[in-house]
C-alpha cells in the first residue's frame, strides 16, 4: 500500500498515491487536462506540452508538464489559467500550421480560440507527438520506425526491411496518429522502398 499524497487541483482536495503524476491524479478525480503525446501504455514523454498546468507556491507560480510531474504533498494545481490557456493556444496554432484538419486539434482549437491560419501552412503534417515511434518500440517492440535528424528537420521514418516484415500484421500504431501522417508515410514507404522479390 503506497503512501497517500494530498494535493489540490482546481480548488478540489484530491487524494493520490505516491509515484502518481499530476495528470494521473487529475484523471482519477475526473478532472480533464488536454493531452496529445500521452498514452496510458507508454512512458510519459513531455513533448507536446499541451498538458502543462500551473503550480502555485504562495506568491509565485510555475508551469509544469503534468504527465511527468510527480504529485507532492500540499501541491496547489490550476489546470486552467490565463498563462495555461495562452500557452495551449500558442501550441495549438503552431501545430495547426502542420495539420489544420486533424480532428483532435480542431476540437481543441475551438475550446482555446486558436486560429488555424495564424502561421503559414507547412508541407509536412506530422506534429511529432511521437506516439507511433514509441508504441512500436515499447509495446509492439518491433522498432520498425523511428525518428531521424533533429530540430526543424526532424522526421519519422519507417525502416523498409523491418516494416515489410512486420507492419501489415500489426498496424497497432495507426489508430494513434492524430493527423493520419503516419498512414500516409506508410503507404509511401510501402510503394517506394519495401524490398521486392523477397530480398
Amino acid at each position: 500500500m503506497s503512501k497517500k499524497i494530498h494535493l489540490q487541483i482546481d480548488g478540489r482536495d484530491i487524494e493520490a498515491e505516491e509515484g502518481m503524476t499530476v495528470l494521473e491524479a487529475a484523471h482519477s478525480a475526473g478532472i480533464k487536462i488536454p493531452t496529445l503525446c500521452f498514452h496510458h501504455e507508454l512512458e510519459p514523454w513531455g513533448g507536446c506540452r499541451l498538458c502543462m498546468v500551473e503550480l502555485e507556491f504562495g506568491d509565485w507560480t510555475r508551469l509544469v508538464v503534468s504527465c511527468v510531474y510527480l504529485v507532492e504533498e500540499g501541491l496547489v494545481v490550476k489546470t486552467r489559467s490565463l498563462k495555461v490557456d495562452k500557452t495551449r493556444k500558442g501550441i495549438l496554432e503552431l501545430l495547426l500550421a502542420h495539420a489544420p484538419d486533424s480532428p483532435q486539434l480542431t476540437a481543441l482549437a475551438e475550446e482555446y480560440g486558436a486560429d488555424r491560419n495564424r502561421f503559414e501552412q507547412d508541407a509536412s503534417f506530422c506534429i511529432h507527438c511521437g506516439l507511433c515511434v514509441r508504441y512500436c518500440a515499447e509495446v509492439a517492440e518491433k522498432h520498425a520506425l523511428g525518428f531521424i535528424d533533429r530540430g526543424i528537420r526532424k522526421e519519422i521514418s519507417f525502416i523498409p526491411e523491418i516494416a515489410a516484415k512486420e507492419c501489415n500484421d500489426c498496424k497497432g500504431c495507426f489508430p494513434l496518429c492524430p493527423t493520419s501522417y503516419l498512414q500516409a508515410a506508410f503507404v509511401l514507404v510501402e510503394s517506394l522502398a519495401f524490398p521486392r522479390n523477397g530480398k
Binding site: V133, H143, G146, I148, D149, I159
Partner: protein, 150 residues
C-alpha cells in the same frame, strides 16, 4: 567494408551499448561514411535496434550516411566568424565549388559542410580543410586556398 573490421571496432569498445556513439565515430573515421551494412552489423552485435542507430546517425553532425569527398571543407559559422563575414565566405566557396553546404561534388573531390564553431574564434573567419585550419580568410583568398587541393 569488411564485417571483420566492424566486429573488431565493436570489440574494442567491449560491445557496450552506451559506447554506441563512440563505435559509430570510429567507423565514420575509418570509412569516411557509415555504410548501411556496417550499421546492420552494429545493430546485430551490440543488440540495439536499427531505429536507434539511424536516429543517432542522423541526429549528430559527425556522421554521414553517404560517402564523403576526398577533402572535407568545413566553414565555421560561429558567432565570431559570422560577425567577421563568414556567410560571404560560404557563398564564395559555394560559387567556386558548385556545391552547397552538406553536399559532395560529382568527382568526390570536395565535401562542403558548415560547422557551428571550431573553437578558433580569434582567427575568424575560419575554414578547416582536412584538419588544417586556414584563419583570417577573406573572399579573395578562397580561390587560392581551394586550388591547393587536388
Amino acid at each position: 567494408m569488411e564485417a571483420e573490421r566492424i566486429d573488431q571496432i565493436i570489440d574494442e569498445h567491449q560491445g557496450a551499448p552506451d559506447l554506441l556513439i563512440q563505435v559509430l565515430l570510429a567507423i565514420q573515421s575509418e570509412y569516411n561514411w557509415l555504410p548501411k551494412a556496417a550499421l546492420q552489423r552494429v545493430g546485430e552485435k551490440m543488440q540495439v535496434p536499427l531505429s536507434r542507430i539511424l536516429h543517432i546517425a542522423t541526429f549528430y553532425n559527425a556522421f554521414s550516411l553517404v560517402p564523403k569527398g576526398r577533402h572535407k571543407v568545413h566553414i565555421c559559422m560561429g558567432t565570431a566568424c559570422h560577425v567577421r563575414g563568414a556567410p560571404r565566405i560560404l557563398d564564395t566557396v559555394q560559387d567556386l565549388t558548385g556545391i552547397g553546404a552538406g553536399e559532395t561534388d560529382l568527382e568526390f573531390k570536395f565535401s562542403l559542410e558548415t560547422v557551428n564553431c571550431i573553437g578558433c574564434c580569434a582567427l575568424g573567419p575560419v575554414i578547416d580543410i582536412d584538419g588544417k585550419i586556414h584563419g583570417n580568410v577573406s573572399t579573395r583568398d578562397t580561390a587560392d586556398i581551394l586550388e591547393q587541393y587536388d
